[in-house]
Amino acid sequence: MTKSAKAENALELRDLSVAYRVAGRNRAVLRNLSLNIGQGEAYGLVGESGCGKSTVALTVVRYLPRNGSITGGAISLDGQDVMKLDAEALRRARAESVSMVYQDPGKALNPSIRVGRQLTEIFELGGITGKAVEDRAVAMLNRVRISDPTSVMQRYPHQLSGGMQQRVAIAMALANDPSMLILDEPTTGLDATVEAEVLDLIAQLRQELSASILFISHNLAVVSNMCDRVGVLYAGMLVEEGPTEVVFNDPRHPYTVALLRCLPRGGQRKDQGRLDTIPGFLPGIGVDIKGCAFADRCALADDRCRSELPPLYDLGGRLSRCFYHEKAQALPRATPSDVAPAPKAAAVPVLRVAGLNKTYSSHGHALRAVKDVSLDLRPGETLGLVGESGSGKTTFARLLLGLVPPDDGGTIVLEGKALAPRLENRSDDQIKAMQIVFQNPDSALNRSHSIRHLIGRALKRLAGLSGKALEARLNDLVRSVRLTDRHLAVKPRQLSGGLKQRVAIARAFAGDPRIVVCDEPTSALDVSVQAAILNLLADLQSKEDVSYIFISHDLAVVRYLSDKIAVLYLGRIMELGPSEDVFSGPHHPYTEALLSAVPKLDQTETARIRLDGEIPSATNPPSGCVFHTRCPRKIGAICEQQEPPLSEAQPGHSIRCHIPYEELARLQKEVVTEPA
């Protein structure tokens, strides 16, 4: 292949159509998709899951699943027609000009081959031999900011953290200096701080390397920070395209408008209005679409939209596939924004936790998963738990629920009565007063029962109902989570992720709980579904006066729902206070770093605070302040020697830091961190 004469575009898709063969029929996944990515350009592709984003990526590298086939159109990679390549030429194209990084780096690396070997084989393929191979591999790992490349090369993938694994995967992708780099959800599933690091790395590498980038993500904020241009994909069609800022600030397709409205933005809170949602569902793959694919879910749609496919209107440097692109932003809300009045916060806490500790012993070492946690929760209040993986959020939730017993000494008091440490010693009333909603409803719902059976059983067990009363309450409950009767007869697998999560929520509410622990309840859902679930949780709260303990890595979501925030690091509360105070600051340096790691849609390139390295092991926490090893605001020896107390900086707002509150306020004013 000649690289000398560079084509004008690194990648060109012309009327690309792809179908999957399901049950003997070809079902269209991509429909006449055309797009260009210029040399050195970063192009973002966004859309809900199932709209064909990953299929685009797999088609470009010709790695469709066995049942997938290209039914029309052309792909040109650096001027070369990918579809005309024979096996050997295709292999060479993959080796030399296109690379791909995808989600879940733990699976993308071969588990039984050392990292070094997986990297060196790429250089050997390029004809390099002997010592030079090793040197190139070390250089490449250095390039992705791995500080100790020789030792990393000796390791197996499972011995590296998720962030390191993804760095290695990026190093492998860039090893042969490809002209086209495809990133398919490269940071999904990583911690916010790790995500920020990986995104920084990609941004820096863009400056050093010449590769054009196709960046696929469901996270609009990530795309807005990384890409020059963005394309919005819906049902396998491009519905809008243009420069990133323009599209996100001035969207011209109702779908883009609706997607953006689903996100809690600019510090929006539950009492300020509900999130907008997108009614209905993405059309199933392969259905015949006559007019506009989005018409069924669009409040602006009229007869013309339903019968005639809108063309891609060229609006001067940007495209929109909508007849009414001019008034797209006038799209009426699908969900009224008015909120139910907030419940009056009673003075008596429903839950009091004091001096809670949990120590696991692992291989003779004590692992302090939760250390000295004390807090109160009032009825109708939401406590947001924030922190990286391994900070003790989930352990804390498990302690409350009695799934693991805490160390001796700590107390959990529910409605004035001390709770037994173990679930089996708690009374039925206490058990049903505290329920949980998990991240993954699939594994939480028994797949062999109908929805009616699942909710009915919960009502029987938790509320002690039967017969007519059960039936009545069941209907009530189903309506309050906005499911309909036709959902009752089906099994979980026949429902979408969002509907399944509603079932899980209905189950948790069956026994009139006082507290519901929500452990990343929306992390596996699309933004439009997430918005609906968040609205539902807020509505249920104001109706039932229930309290939430809300765990999420998405700070905007936590902020939307929470009245109170606890920031955890290595099992300790670093900061505790009313949501607004914690988010607007002054805050603990760790909170500050967490907040600045979040990619924001309306980012005005603020200086980002980077946390170096990974969260230390809880078996061997750093001396003094546990955060001092990564703290950008460390003031000196005192941080290494003495653990600061969690002291009340302002009424109700406590911070565990040696830096006085006023000083934090002064320091943090210099860097204006736009809150999530």
């Binding site: 292999r91 060479r92 993959r94 080796a95 791909m100 588990p111 039984s112 393929l125 197996y156 499972h158």
Partner: protein
């Protein structure tokens, strides 16, 4: 621990079998007093616990006791039979493992094509046929009609290695047929999983030649589960061949146990079974060891 439980079960099992040792040896017309005297000499009239203890404590010291029937130490019988069984197992093993794995791999690489259908369906059909059926059919074909192979596995005295091998081919064929399906199926499903994995996609998209992808990236991960299956089948190959050994009149440990059970020859029976138990345990141990060598996740644990 497992072996200890096994020894107790074997011992108790032997006790509940109907029949009297002395009577079985001396025949139905012997005088009752002679039977009693014999029973006393053999020690079978002692309390159960004492009998068990006497036997097991000797066994762990390497003394397997004295056969009731042959009136001579058990050990040489068991060792001889075990040797014979291992020879047969080895031949079957050498045949079935490479061919089974190859079959599975080839099937997976030609997924849903005719070759895959032939291997999968063929393997399954021969697996469900019991070995005495295939054994008899094979004897008929190769031994009686074609006369290529001897129908008995008992080779002449002082036969050399190749002669023994020649005699062992026919008896090992039914074993091959039984195991081929298992091994090929495991290898096939392991391959399919590995071929569909993200790391295989990574390897392909690196632009590695297909051959390298398969050899370096796919096979090793794909065949891990197969190793466990092979190990458990090794135990069966050595100890579970009563039918085949009887059919081919082969002096293996299976037929030894069978004979001992019929004659209520407890020392022989128990030693034989315990020996097979040990073989099983060793095979499993070897498999676990191999598995951990090939799988760094087990070998090295996690640093995180």
């Amino acid at each position: 621990m497992t072996l200890f439980l096994l020894s107790i079960m074997v011992f108790l099992g032997g006790q509940v079998l109907p029949g009297n040792v002395g009577r079985a040896i001396l025949g139905p017309f012997a005088d009752q007093r002679a039977v009693d005297a014999l029973n006393h000499t053999l020690g079978v009239d002692r309390p159960l616990l004492a009998q068990y203890w006497g036997w097991i404590s000797n066994f762990v010291q390497g003394d397997m006791g004295t056969s009731y029937i042959f009136r001579s130490p058990v050990a040489p019988f068991v060792i001889d039979a075990l040797g014979n069984s291992m020879k047969l197992a080895a031949v079957a093993f050498v045949l079935v493992v490479p061919i089974g794995i190859l079959g599975g791999v080839v099937a997976a690489l030609n997924l849903n094509r005719p070759l895959d259908r032939i291997i999968s369906l063929g393997g399954l059909s021969v697996t469900v046929l019991p070995e005495f059926v295939t054994g008899i059919i094979l004897i008929l074909i190769f031994g009686v009609w074609l006369r290529w192979l001897p129908i008995s596995a008992a080779w002449p005295r002082n036969a050399g290695f190749f002669t023994q091998l020649y005699y062992l081919i026919l008896p090992s064929l039914p074993l091959f047929l039984v195991l081929f399906g298992y091994i090929a199926r495991m290898a096939r499903s392991g391959m399919i999983e590995a071929l569909d994995s993200d790391y295989t996609r990574t390897a392909v998209l690196k632009g590695l030649p297909w051959r390298t992808v398969i050899w370096r990236h796919v096979l090793r991960n794909a065949l891990l589960p197969t190793i466990t299956v092979i190990a458990t089948q090794t135990g069966y190959l050595i100890g579970g061949l009563v039918v085949i050994e009887t059919l081919f009149r082969y002096q293996g440990i299976g037929s030894l146990i069978f004979t001992a059970a019929r004659g209520k020859d407890f020392p022989m029976l128990e030693s034989g079974i315990l020996t097979i138990g040990i073989v099983y345990a060793v095979a499993t141990l070897v498999a676990d060891f191999l598995y951990s060598v090939l799988n760094p996740r087990i070998r090295l644990g996690s640093d995180q």
